[in-house]
Amino acid sequence: MFGDGILKGLAETARNFFGSYRSKNRLTTIQYPEERLPQIEAARSFPFLVYDGADWQQGMRCVACQICEKECPPKCILIKKSADKKPDATGKLQAYPAVFDIDISVCMSCQICVEVCPFDAIKMDVDYDLPTADRFAGLLLDKQKLSKSNQYYHQIHPTEAAAVDAALAAERAAAAAKAKAAADAAAAKAAAPAPAPQVQPAGGEPR
């Protein structure tokens, strides 16, 4: 019959219309500021700098190696190396960035800086609610605004943070073991030269 397609369509929209009043779960609207969609774990918005411990300046992992600055496609990272050094997590003296600016109006959240960072110092944040009145200074985040604690990192990306911490811990353990081994070797070498004159053919240094 001519027009039956139209009638079927009308019936469908009528069912939708009255259904939306009967059962609330038909409605897909999320009232944004009040209700929010649950954040999926792999979500990302803009990068932030991770620091261990309490003090954000001392615990900052970033050693200002400027790899991320060179790798960033839209060139939105600016790093100035510091003159002096500070001890990093493993106690080794490392440089740190005096100035670390990211212009989030330019940043395209591509996460390349996170992938190239050898020290896991920069990770992707999930907070997208960054309204500012001033579109220049307001969107240029300096070192202090960028740095957030490791606990926060665990909050937003739990699995990833755990994996990074495990790797860092293993790395520190290896470094500590190597350092200890080197220290033992140095100590052994210091002790060895004393008896060296008596036992010449000792067959080389003990490894």
């Binding site: 019959m1 139209i6 369509g9 939708n16 219309f17």
Partner: protein
Amino acid sequence: MTQTLDQIFVIAKAWLLGYLPVAARPLASAVLCVIAIVITFPLLFAITTWLERKGLGRIQNRLGPNRTGPFGLFQPIADAIKSLTKEDIVPLTADHAVHFLAPLLLVAAAFLAYAVLPVGRNMVLVNLNAGVLFFFAVGSVVELSVFMAGWSSRSKYSLLGAMRAIAQMISYEVPLVLATVAVIMQAGSLSTVDIVNQQATYTHTLPHWFVFTPWGFVGFVLFMIAATAESNRSPFDLPEGESEIIAGYYIEYSGFKFALFFLGEYLGMFATSGMAITLFLGGWAAPFSFLTWIPSYVWFFLKLLALIGFFIWIRGTLPRLRMDQLMNLAWEFVLPMALLNMLVAGVWHFMPHGLLRWLVCTAIVAIPCILLAAGLKRKKKFQVRTYQFAE
């Protein structure tokens, strides 16, 4: 008591006129009626925009505006303020005089159409002897304003949109007029008040609306199809399809003039659905005889809201028609059916009352309708599209 309630506006007007000198009375009564129309229908326009957005939302399983006020009731006010405060940009190469006049002419023509609509028992602005003809004469002025808008903006999209809109409006005005001719033949008069008075009688609780006759129902369906096309709405909104040519003829308008175009379009829709109610749905007549204690104007506006709801429902459902489908439907289905409808109205008039009349008339209408529909369906064979220039 119900009589006074029904005539409350007429009495109020007479009471107000009492204060004026006799010489100024005719002019003052006209001014009062005009003020009433100019207030109620834009108000209805505001309510309809809210209804439309909430209705379309609910049809598409979403809420619709609910931020501005309870249930989003202040949304029309927000829209009005937004469009009034927006900057009114006129393109540099535009033809300023014509560009300025187009929306005014559109809204003026839309308002003129209300002069002959009987809103309630003896509540019509002017009881013209040739009321329906006046309505269509004013309706044809709208096409001129559409052209003025499209041409004066001097942009390809607006001219293309204007040409499409005019082609569509002209090819659907013919069936619109022919659908009313059937009613005029039956009612025997062009005056809208007579048409409604004939429909206001009852046979033991059932009304004599024209829509309850075979030719009346077909006429009503054809009238609604043509009315949707005439006001460029829903399945026929190709001229202003956002995806096709952005906004058609009112693309170069912004701010207040854009709001005027919207007002003109909605007023046109109310006017044609008002005429559909007057011609087919018994104007201000109550649906059943035991309901006549409710004032007459309430019935008119209830039916108007029902038709507006139907327009919104159609807009939420039907996809947009292509230009050739639109024209095919007009010249190959709606027009022949309108001509046939006139024949059926004639047969209905001369045959004696009874079941035979019903059978004959419905047969005369139904069979060609199925054949024409089959014709339209057979045309839908999808062959490989041949490009004329892009070989």
